[in-house]
Symmetry: C3
Subunit: 225 residues, 3 copies
Amino acid sequence: MRSPAGPKNNGQKVRIGKGAVIDAGVLLGYQPSRGDSDQLIVGSGARVRSGSIIYGGSKIGQSMETGHNVIIREENEIGDNLRIWSNSIVDYGCQIGNNVKIHSHVYICQYTVIEDEVFIGPGVTLANDIHPGCPDALECMKGPCIKRGAQIGVNACVLPRVTVGEHSVIGAGSVVTKDIPAGVIAYGNPAQVICRIEDLNCTTGLRDKPYSHLIRSLKDAYTIG
Amino acid sequence: MRSPAGPKNNGQKVRIGKGAVIDAGVLLGYQPSRGDSDQLIVGSGARVRSGSIIYGGSKIGQSMETGHNVIIREENEIGDNLRIWSNSIVDYGCQIGNNVKIHSHVYICQYTVIEDEVFIGPGVTLANDIHPGCPDALECMKGPCIKRGAQIGVNACVLPRVTVGEHSVIGAGSVVTKDIPAGVIAYGNPAQVICRIEDLNCTTGLRDKPYSHLIRSLKDAYTIG
Amino acid sequence: MRSPAGPKNNGQKVRIGKGAVIDAGVLLGYQPSRGDSDQLIVGSGARVRSGSIIYGGSKIGQSMETGHNVIIREENEIGDNLRIWSNSIVDYGCQIGNNVKIHSHVYICQYTVIEDEVFIGPGVTLANDIHPGCPDALECMKGPCIKRGAQIGVNACVLPRVTVGEHSVIGAGSVVTKDIPAGVIAYGNPAQVICRIEDLNCTTGLRDKPYSHLIRSLKDAYTIG
C-alpha cells in the first residue's frame, strides 16, 4: 500500500484492513463539511484507484474495488465486495448491501437504500428530492430503495421514495416514477411494467431465457396489477 | 489557503479574495486553448475541493463552493454563492447569476444563461448545438436560458435556445425541446406543461403545497396555452 | 513535454510520438487489471490534459486531444484526431476511427465500434449488456456500432448491438433500441425515425438545410420503412 495523500489521512482518521492496494492520488478520510469527521473504516482487500476520494465517517466492508475518481461521502454503510467504477458518486447517508456493482458516471443520492446483489448501470441517477425548491426539501429528502438483485439499465433515473422490487430489471433510459414490483421488466418514460422476467427470451441465441435461474426464488414474490 | 498546483497559478493569472480554502490538487487559472488566458478573478470566501480546475479568464463572485473535480472554463461570468458539486462542468462563455446551485455530473454548455436562484439537478445536460455536424454549427451555437428560480430535475436535458420560465420545475428525465412558460410543472420526452406550480400538492404530508411561497411572486407572470 | 506521473510510465510501457504536450497529473500506461499490460502507443502531437488516465495496451493515432479526467482503458484501437472532452470514459476493447469527437461525460462501453467522423454529444451512454444479470452476460457483451459521420445528441443512450447508420442524427435524450438506417433523423424514447436528413430545415435562419452538404454522399444509401 502506497501512502494516500491529504492532510487528514493519519491513523486515527482512517482504519483500513489488510491487503489494501491504494493508488497514489487517492484521498481517504476526507473531512466532511457537515460536522466533525468520524473515522473511515474500510475492510481488508480494498483496491482503490487513482483520483478516488472516500470521506471520513463511512464504513465499508471487505474487498471493495473502485475505478478512478470515485467519490464516496460520509455516513454511508456499505457491505462487502462493492464494485464501483470510474466517476461515480455515492452521496452521504446511504445503506448499500453486499456484492453491489455500481458502474460508471452513476450518482447515488443521499439516503438511498441498495440491497445485496444489485447492479446499477452506467449513467444512472437516483433522486431524493420530490419537489426541488420546496422549503421542506431537507426534511423530505429520501432516496429510492433498490431491492435485492435488481438491475438498473444505463442512463435510467429512479425518483425519490420509489422502490424497485427484487430481481426486477429497469430498461435503459427509463424514468422510474412509481414502485416497480419484484421480478418484472419495466421501462419507458415513465417506466411501465412490460412483463415478468420469466417471460423474457434471450435475443442473441446463447440461451433460452436470460433470467430462468431466478424464477424459483421469485415464485409467489410478485404480482402484476 | 494552501498553494494551488500548476504552472499558471502565479499572482498575475489568478486574483482570489480573502478567506479562500483551496484544497491541494486544485488548478486555478488553467490556460485556455482558445487564445491568451485572461486573469481568473474569484471573490472572497471561496471553498474549492480537490481535483477542481478553474480556467483563466472567468470572473466568479463571493462565497463560491465546489465539490471535487469540478471544471469551470474560460469567459464565464458567475455571481455570488455558486454551489457546484462534484464532476460538474461549466463550459465557456456562460452567464450565471447569484445563488445558483448546480449539482453533480452536470454539463452546462457554452453560451448558457442561468439566472439567480436556479437549481440544476444531478446528471442534467444542457445543449447548444441544434444540428450537430451542420457547417454553421459554430456560428449557430447558443445554449438555453434558465430563468430565475427555475428547478431542473435529475437527468433532464434542455435543448439549445430553449427558455425555461421563472420558477418553473422540470421533472426528472425530461427532454425540454420548447420554451416552458413561468410558474409551471413540465415533464416528459418531449416535456409537456402539466400544471401550474400552485396546483401541485405535497405528496409526503409535510405541507399542503410545495410551492405556495412562490405564488404571489408569479401572479400574472404566466399563461398556459 | 512534462514528465507524466505514475509508476508504470517508463519507456517500455508507453511509446508516445513527437510533439506531445502532457499535463502534470496525467497517467499514461496505467496497468489494466485484466492481465499483463501491453504497451500504450500514442501517435505524434498528443495533447492530454490534467487528470486524464490512459491505460497500457491501447493504440491511439496522431493528434489526440483530451480534456481533463478522461479515461481510456486497454485494448482500444483509436485513429487519428480523436477529440475527447472532460470526464468521458472509453472502456476496453473498442474500435474508434479517425476524426471522432467525443464530448463530455460520455461513457463508451466495451466492444463498441465507432467509425470515422462520428460525433458523440455530452452525457451520451452506450450499452453492451442486453440483459444485465444474465449468467451469459460476459459472453453476450457487445456494444453498438456508430457508422461514419453519425451524430449522437446529448444524453442519448444507444443499446447493445444497435447500429446507427451513416450520417444519421439521433436527437437529445433518445433511447435507441433498434437499428437506425443511414441518413435519417431519429429521436424519442424509444427512438423513431422522423425524416431524412435532407428534409430537415435550419431553424435559426443561417442557411436553408443543415445537412444539404451530405445529400450527395447518401444517395441510394438508405431507405425508410
